[in-house]
């Protein structure tokens, strides 16, 4: 009884204080209701019909948004600029991809029920031990969380205990993802090498090409984004979050007050990696492929740009940044593909120079710049 009231009051307080979050959660709720309706409930010739292509595209953006959210936790709130955050996303994606590969069964090109196509092609005789268990969804789902989490835990344990911070930490995270990319490119690793894992057929028995499956995946992406947002917001509003920000702003002070700084960083980093892994696992069935390119440092850097553009340490800013930039990317790469990277670079420079707090900061600044509006707002709150 006591406990439930504790959580409901916390939740209500949290939402009241967090306008951006309230907007975000409402938008997600609307998407979760209307996108399935407009895709499955209307005919193709209906003007309101949302095509499955669009649903999948939106689902992809949601996965990126979830990834950006996880980076915002470590970078925005704790100042840990991870330039290899995409690695956790890719690992989560590979874990899901391995399950989807096993689901193909004997429907591959070689019709071998025991081995995935690329292993047959490499003349392998039996399944490597680390593929065991991926026939089961529950096992794969566990690995989606465990593998990125364990890697982040070990990496973080070593890095934070040795007090590696700032640029040095960024460089090793970058090296981490680069090393993983090179490793996954090798055929001998047994993850499909250059081509990665693809040609998926179905998930939990549902055909991946069907509209219903696509819409469900979209729905789950939105749901998990909402849940992870709520969890992150709760943590950042709790004393835990204040300690995290304190560590970002004055690490020594936090240490001399008696906080075990490395433990805080470690748990936050691990949590962020787990969220990134979940994002990757939702991403792979929707786009239908995972390859070592996902580990490329460029991806991780792009991810940093999303968060910077959206606004650090706001959570909803990261989500918005990921959405906006990926929409722009889709648009640009279909019209002027060669300009995209320049546009992205220019955007990053502009944001760094003129909008250090990103778009979320712009909104906030406008709010404080207009005192009458602010006054009427506080009047409302008082009433």
């Amino acid at each position: 009884m006591q406990k439930s009231s504790f959580f409901t009051t916390t939740f209500r307080e949290t939402l009241l204080r967090d306008r951006g979050g309230a907007v975000l959660l409402s938008v997600l709720l609307l998407l979760m209701i209307f996108i399935p309706l407009l895709n499955l409930g209307t005919g193709v010739d209906n003007p309101l019909h949302v095509s499955t292509y669009t649903v999948t595209l939106l689902g992809k953006y949601l996965c990126f948004a979830l990834l950006a959210l996880s980076l915002d936790l470590v970078w925005g709130y704790c100042g840990i600029l991870s330039l290899g955050h995409g690695a956790f996303f890719a690992l989560g994606g590979y874990a899901m991809g391995m399950y989807l590969m096993r689901q193909i069964g004997d429907r591959g090109v070689y019709g071998n029920a025991e081995l995935p196509d690329f292993m047959v092609f490499l003349n392998w005789q039996e399944l490597p031990w680390y593929w065991y268990g991926f026939d089961h969804f529950w096992f794969a789902a566990l690995m989606v969380v465990l593998i990125p989490g364990a890697l982040a835990f070990v990496f973080g344990w070593l890095a934070f205990r040795s007090r590696v911070t700032g640029v040095y930490l960024s460089i090793i995270t970058q090296a981490l993802t680069y090393a993983l990319m090179l490793a996954f490119f090798r055929n001998e690793m047994g993850f499909g090498g250059n081509n990665g894992l693809t040609d998926f057929k179905d998930i939990l028995g549902y055909n991946l090409q069907q509209d219903g499956t696509r819409v469900t995946l979209f729905f789950l992406s939105a749901l998990l984004l909402a849940l992870c947002y709520a969890l992150s917001r709760y943590l950042m509003n709790a004393k835990f979050g204040r300690v995290i920000v304190a560590i970002r702003d004055a690490e020594d002070r936090a240490r001399f007050i008696g906080y075990r700084v490395e433990n805080y960083k470690l748990w936050l980093f691990t949590l962020a990696a787990v969220i990134a892994g979940i994002a990757g696992a939702l991403y792979v069935p929707q786009v239908g492929i995972i390859n070592p390119g996902e580990f490329s440092p460029l991806n991780s850097i792009e991810l940093v740009v999303w968060v910077a553009v959206g606004g650090r340490a706001t959570l909803y800013g990261a989500v918005a940044g990921a959405g906006i930039i990926n929409y722009a990317k889709t648009w640009f790469t279909s019209i002027l593909p060669e300009v995209w990277l320049f546009a992205l670079g220019a955007l990053f420079v502009i944001v760094t120079l003129f909008l250090p707090d990103g778009l979320a900061g712009l909104l906030r600044r406008r709010k404080t710049a207009a005192p009458p509006a602010a006054q009427s707002q506080s009047g409302e709150a008082a009433a």
């Binding site: 709790a238 004393k239 835990f240 304190a246 004055a250």
Partner: protein, 291 residues
């Protein structure tokens, strides 16, 4: 001759540590009668001394910041430490708080806690609080939140995820805000406070942390005369319940609070005593007024 003096010094220190004759004092023996055990993590001040620094030496690239420094702080004492620039005052604090490891020598908190083998966090949690020379508060947090973070509580991540302030704690923070005169600035980000207010906020953070020993590095730097008086009052008020070590340059301020003063010079103790004794010590005069 030199050897003899060293032996004598060592003997003196041994007496000072009061350990040599422990075997006689029956009730102090851990395994006899109503004596007490040496409990891990508990500060043992049964001999009245809270902090032991013995023959501590620290060198940085050949520069001897601390040179055989020996210093004792009693439980509940207010001690001022003065000394010219480079005398090793801040290095001494670094050694006590675990930021710097001594090349040689002992640093004990109570009789059982070896500070040279504890991390900064362990030392802080054992009950040593520190105010830095440059005021360091958490700039983005409000004054209230700064105190909340410093408030004595379970510091582990899992606990802070679910922690809520109890009414008692809330009251304690409000009272401390009142004590340090920042009640009106309760919800302002600490970055917007004036220099003096930041100093006070940092002292307030030490108060709610409720440490056994407070190390205060230049508390009145940048304060007005009135603020200085208030600070003096606050620090004298604290002594007794806590031990306070103040490092300060401002002689008037030191005079206004000091009961015992230690003068550091070139990394070791030059003189110790009341303010008057110290000021009339010819060696101190020589060092301060110079060649």
């Amino acid at each position: 001759m030199n050897n003899l003096r060293q032996t004598w010094q060592q003997l003196q220190q041994g007496m000072r540590r009061d350990r040599v004759f422990d075997f006689i004092a029956e009730n102090r023996m851990p395994f006899r009668g109503q004596g007490h055990m040496a409990l891990p993590g508990v500060v043992d001040v049964s001999h009245g001394t809270l902090l032991y620094l013995e023959n501590v030496s620290v060198s940085f690239d050949g520069f001897r910041a601390l040179n055989n420094l020996t210093l004792y702080i009693d439980d509940g004492e207010l001690r001022c430490i003065i000394g010219p620039n480079g005398a090793g005052k801040t290095t001494m604090m670094d050694v006590i708080t675990g930021k710097t490891r001594p090349d040689s020598g002992n640093a004990f908190f109570g009789q059982t806690l070896d500070l040279t083998r504890m991390s900064e966090t362990d030392i802080a949690n054992a009950g040593i609080g520190r105010k830095f020379q440059k005021p360091t508060v958490f700039p983005r947090h409000s004054a209230f939140e700064n105190l909340e973070l410093a408030l004595q509580a379970d510091r582990r991540p899992w606990h802070t995820m679910r922690h809520r302030l109890t009414p008692t704690q809330q009251l304690q923070i409000e009272e401390t805000l009142h004590t340090i005169g920042l009640l009106a600035e309760r919800d302002r980000p600490a970055a917007l406070l004036s220099h003096g207010q930041k100093q006070w906020l940092e002292i307030g953070m030490l108060l709610v942390q409720n440490p056994r020993l407070l190390l205060v590095d230049e508390p009145v730097a940048g304060m007005t005369h009135q603020e200085m008086e208030q600070t003096a009052q606050l620090l004298t008020h604290l002594a007794g319940r806590h031990s306070v070590v103040v490092v300060e340059h401002d002689m008037d301020f030191v005079r206004s609070i000091a009961r015992r003063v230690t003068v550091l010079h070139e990394g070791s103790v030059l003189a110790e005593g009341t303010m008057d004794e110290v000021q009339n010590n010819p060696r101190v005069v020589e060092v301060y007024l110079g060649e």
